[in-house]
Symmetry: C2
Subunit: 499 residues, 2 copies
């Protein structure tokens, strides 16, 4: 191997180790850390991030990349080329942001988060508004760092989107989302006017430990390997990769909301399958991770909705669930259960939305963050802009900011811009992806009624998971579907299922 390439690989392997060490610190913080550990933990996380950033933006890396760019292409393997492309991308992007700025922004984010926690509780947008104002300024400064040379942009949100979902832009997503919205708004209206299925049984009492038993069993049945991961309880469910053989999920259990645990377990398992399905030869390299927010979300949503809310899925699992909660579910048939978990209804909270209305929530946020960033919406006008859009798109006006623009943590612990598009990209691609799997293996739904997911796993692994970050989102989407990202397969799926 060329010495510059070898040095770069060693350097980026260290960076990857440090990032994963940071993930262990985060996982522990969310699960088992005692109350008074927070101060030191914040410091440790900041230091590990800082060190990884120093290693990445070191001038020595620039020199090595420059040397490596002169290696004749023919002498490189496909993996080498993918590695060099990603290493160059990470170096370029990290180098745009001065370390001191980054540290200052991280500090601001922590302060903003603390204020938001209280502001949300007490419905006090004014308390957090000055912090959000500052976040907008920081986010805009980040945009400006990128507005030159090969990373110059058309809209200030572009570099934020590029970060999470490489290859996408504000303009391309606006077009895509407009297509989707055009059909979605009338579809929601149509479905909302129908008679509602019963859902009373979903809010009966399901004891915590009984739920956890079922959720662990369920994760295992759908293919989650507990030798390579574990499931714990957290306030917000998440998946985190702490190594190729250590991909953990967390779930949330509400004793009077059966869906919360069930669908967060399936959702996070979907994320985990992606990370667990990578080619082993990418282990420990920067290629050994899912490629983008949107593609990751496509895997979790495929499992959560296209699989996990299908009739075939529950044909197998409902008898088990019913037996597990024998006294609570004895009066509920499979059909009632299936229709209950698929009830469509406009609501105010994104994370509780059904799969039909969900993208409307996302698009509202996407449009608003673009406006905040380009200056066409002032922070002080956010609550009314938010509420107006909910009224227009979902026919409901939030009675409070707690149920409105204060509900999501993203803008209060992160940048404004690039935070939400991944959810809808994920939903759209999940349908394209599942279409591809069904086309190759039409027997997948039938196998599911027997609790057999092996063909689906194999297809996803071969077509999506194994590539890790070797293919960028659009390359991957093209390869899987022969097309670009599109809203039509997703809309077709919804119509098939609901109309």
């Amino acid at each position: 191997m060329h010495p510059a390439l070898e040095s770069l690989k060693a350097r980026f392997a260290e960076i990857d180790d440090l990032r994963q060490a940071g993930s262990v610190l985060h996982w522990d913080m969310s699960t088992y850390m005692p109350r008074d550990g927070a101060t030191a933990r914040g410091r440790m996380i900041a230091t590990v991030e800082k060190v990884a950033h120093e290693k990445l933006t070191d001038p020595a890396v620039a020199a090595l990349l420059e040397t490596a760019s002169g290696i004749p292409d023919a002498t490189l393997t496909a993996d080498d080329r993918a590695f060099l492309r990603l290493a160059q991308r990470q170096f370029t992007r990290a180098s745009k942001i001065p370390s001191a700025f980054k540290a200052e922004f991280l500090q601001h984010m922590a302060a903003s988060y603390d204020i938001w926690v209280h502001a949300r509780k007490s419905n006090d947008f004014n308390a957090v508004a000055p912090f959000l104002q500052k976040t907008v300024i920081y986010s805009r400064a980040i945009s400006d760092f990128f507005n030159a040379g090969e990373t110059a942009w058309d809209h200030p949100m572009d570099p934020h989107i590029e970060d999470a979902d490489p290859g996408m832009t504000t303009a391309s997503l606006k077009t895509l989302f407009a297509d989707l919205r055009r059909e979605l708004v009338p579809l929601v209206r149509e479905l909302s006017s129908r008679e509602k299925p019963r859902t009373d049984f979903l809010s009966r009492t399901y004891p915590k430990s009984r739920q956890m038993e079922f959720l662990n069993w369920l994760a295992k049945q759908i293919g989650y390997d507990f030798n390579r991961g574990r499931q714990d309880l957290t306030h917000h469910p998440f998946m985190t990769k702490l190594g190729a053989g250590d991909v953990r999920i967390t779930t949330r259990i509400d004793e009077t909301n059966l869906c919360d645990g069930l669908f967060s377990t399936i959702h996070e398992s979907g994320h985990a399958f992606y990370e667990l399905g990578l080619s082993p030869h990418l282990d420990g390299t920067i290629l050994g991770h899912g490629i983008s927010a949107g593609i990751h979300e496509s895997q979790s949503r495929l499992w959560e909705n296209l699989v996990g809310r299908s009739r075939e899925f529950w044909t197998y699992f409902y008898p088990h669930l019913q037996a597990h909660f024998a006294e609570t579910l004895q009066d509920v048939s499979l059909d009632e259960f299936y229709r209950g978990i698929n009830r469509v209804e406009p609501s105010l909270i994104r994370t509780e939305a059904d799969e039909v209305t969900y993208n409307l929530h996302v698009m509202i946020r996407f449009d608003i963050e673009a406006q905040l960033l380009d200056g066409s919406l002032a922070v002080k006008d956010l609550p009314s802009a938010w509420n107006d859009r909910y009224e227009a798109d979902l026919g409901m006006r939030p009675p409070s900011d707690t149920q409105g623009c204060l509900q999501d943590v993203h803008w209060y612990y992160g940048s404004v811009g690039g935070m939400f598009q991944g959810y809808t990209i994920g939903n759209l691609f999940s349908a394209q992806c599942y279409d591809g799997a069904l086309k190759a293996h039409p027997e997948i739904p039938q196998a599911m009624t027997q609790g057999d997911f092996s063909t689906l796993h194999t297809w996803l692994k071969e077509n999506i998971h194994q590539h890790g970050s070797s293919l960028f989102p659009q390359e991957l989407i093209q390869r899987v579907t022969g097309q670009d990202l599109s809203s039509q397969p997703f809309l077709a799926y919804l119509k098939r299922k609901y109309l």
Copy 2:
């Protein structure tokens, strides 16, 4: 503050953060990591250690220390002076060992550990002997790195001892241990010839979860604050500091060995009290840690033995224990329990030894590692040398190496040299320390019968804990006792209690 001092403080704070991040990685590895996480975890730990070592041995640190050494003493606070002394010590010692050597040794240690795990199980010393041989060579090489200038030594074990127990040497400890052994061997012989108390009830069945409930309650009662820590199960109990507000302990539960859980919980709580009792202004600095292996062990052994095996302690706790295991302990009186947990009997396994025979186990290891290191004992002769010493000192010959020289992990996952003296230093100082506390507050034992440990905690905090690493062991011992480390108070305690 002088800019060099400020820079040094910032640098060492980062190093401290990285070390604590490494401790989180270790804690998780021992508690909750899934089976297949080991490979990546080993890499992550090695990288975090390497980065911390790079930060410590950076030439910039040498330059800053040089500059700081010119700051007029009168302008420094006591903390600044303590910080500069410790920073200089850590820099000097770390700089002696080349990074490449360190990495190679770490790799060898990991391989040696794996072999040892199997060798111990299958009583196969020959399998691990070549690895131990190599460890001796590495350990001797480390000694040689230090054998010049201000760190030149008389015995090759000196720099290893200096590392764990600053200020101690092979020669000084040999003298101290000889004093101890002279009285201990006949004392053990005397006590062994007496009638044995009943201990049958200690190996009855105590269900795991019932034990854990009691152990958590017990830790809390003796003053362990669960807002600043937690207790989990591991194969080997330990205490680890993950921040000033996050000092965790682990315990081991054997369903048919009641003592295992009880005394490991009390022991590890003792370690935790030390770390939790540090002055808050040392938080996040390299001074914010216990000073040495021996002083740390003095705190754990003080709680485990002088407190935790005292009649006063169980006067309060035994009724609670008896009530908790009502059916199992109903036929056992407080007196029988007290005498059972204090039974003195020569045995083969160090970690299961009573407080009287324990130090004999340590001194055997201390002498042997000195001989391995100075070449007067060959690795191939280790088993027979070990067995001969057990026969001479404890009157028992190990029937296998599993119960002999393969029992402790230390030499198979670490260096040979400096590994064991801390246990006996700890036992000796625990008695000096407790004498000091009782002299100041003779009411401590009486308060214990009421479950009140507050005076003892306050005394330990003021006299030992608060100083962290500001005082070196001999300074601390002098300050607390007005004397040097001595075996007499410990021997007097044993005689008082057992004769």
